[in-house]
Symmetry: C2
Subunit: 218 residues, 2 copies
């Protein structure tokens, strides 16, 4: 409509160009964050994770297996499914960056998940991982919310489940988050992993990591 | 199916009860976070925001107008629309907690948004705010991602747009986030506000704040 109210400019001066905002953001992060211990491929991921949370100090807390970045990027280019523990993670994956129109799957709200949680005596987030089984081989697993989902996945791997290509393990919080991430690092099957130590994590960091791995673009 | 692979338990001991996880999490946060300067109603919000990001130090960075918590809770009970700048925020709002089946709206992917951004010479996140106009009066605005969305909203208020009931202003990042939040605090129309100072913010904090305001349940 032509009589739509328009913003009254004048009070504020700010950058309105999306690409310029990205470029200045990434330049600031690369200037302030200590990225020395990462390869270029890993740093690309860490920079985007910092962008998603606003904390350059995050760099100190990110750890990954030396095989992680290559394994995850290769899997995505081969069309790997992206298995997400939370809808916020699923929503945060930028579809147009994906190299092979990869399926992005979150099974948390599947009809079977709530009864499965009761049956298995666990959380809905953990029960949702059961529904990943047909998609698990060669997938990229992305856990940005629930420690129980990560523990459940490791227990499925202990039971002989097919291995994902790589696991982004960044659940957040105060009960089980630090422990589940350490368990991933130490797991005998050594699926290539990326974690954020301790309590820090979340859906934004998780989705940011996927978005970095999807494309070389900043 | 009956022959589904089941997790092999034994390697890990962890809390599998969702309610117990919540209770232990909130107890830890209330033990460690410095919440003294908040009212009980405000602390309820801050605790959930900390829960969403894993950082008890967040408490130092949250500020709100004295009118905020009451205004936002009252608006939600009256059926206020919840206007979100990002799909991750929209996904993070727990529908079953909402007191009045409130509409949760994100206009970022509306067909009109991308052309509107070109027309107005701004970001898509800012242009998406134009589509909030019919819903703005008495709404709860929730900005968890884009500083430009918050600046654009303030410019619409300068142009005489109807006032929301309250604004959660927690955009994240390195370009404009701190400035847009300070502008919200100082805006002459003084819509009740909640912010996180500086670069910190994000969709999880934003959605957590809405979820806390929606219900008295932990």
């Amino acid at each position: 409509m032509t009589d739509e109210l328009l913003p009254q400019r004048g009070r504020y001066t700010y950058e309105r160009n999306g690409q310029a905002i990205y470029e200045r953001s990434f330049a600031t992060i690369r200037c302030e964050a200590d990225l020395q211990r990462f390869t270029a491929e890993e740093a690309h991921v860490v920079v985007r994770m910092i962008h998603g949370c606003g904390m350059v100090e995050l760099a100190q807390h990110v750890r990954c297996a030396p095989t992680f970045a290559h394994a995850a990027r290769h899997a995505l280019r081969q069309g790997a499914a992206i298995l997400c523990d939370a809808e916020m993670v699923e929503r945060g994956v930028t579809r147009r960056r994906l190299p092979a129109n990869n399926p992005v799957i979150c099974t948390l709200k599947n009809d079977a998940t709530a009864p499965k949680a009761v049956q298995l005596g666990t959380t809905r987030s953990a029960a949702a991982v059961q529904a990943w089984l047909p998609h698990l081989a060669g997938s990229l697993v992305v856990i940005g919310n629930a420690p129980t989902a990560l523990f459940h996945l490791l227990e499925l791997l202990d039971a002989g489940a097919p291995a994902p290509a790589a696991i982004i393990g960044v659940p957040v919080g105060f009960v089980g988050a630090a422990e589940s991430k350490q368990a991933l690092v130490e797991h005998p099957r050594q699926v290539p992993w990326l974690i954020v130590d301790g309590r820090l994590g979340g859906s934004a960091m998780a989705a940011s990591a996927v978005n970095a791995l999807s494309s070389d673009d900043t």
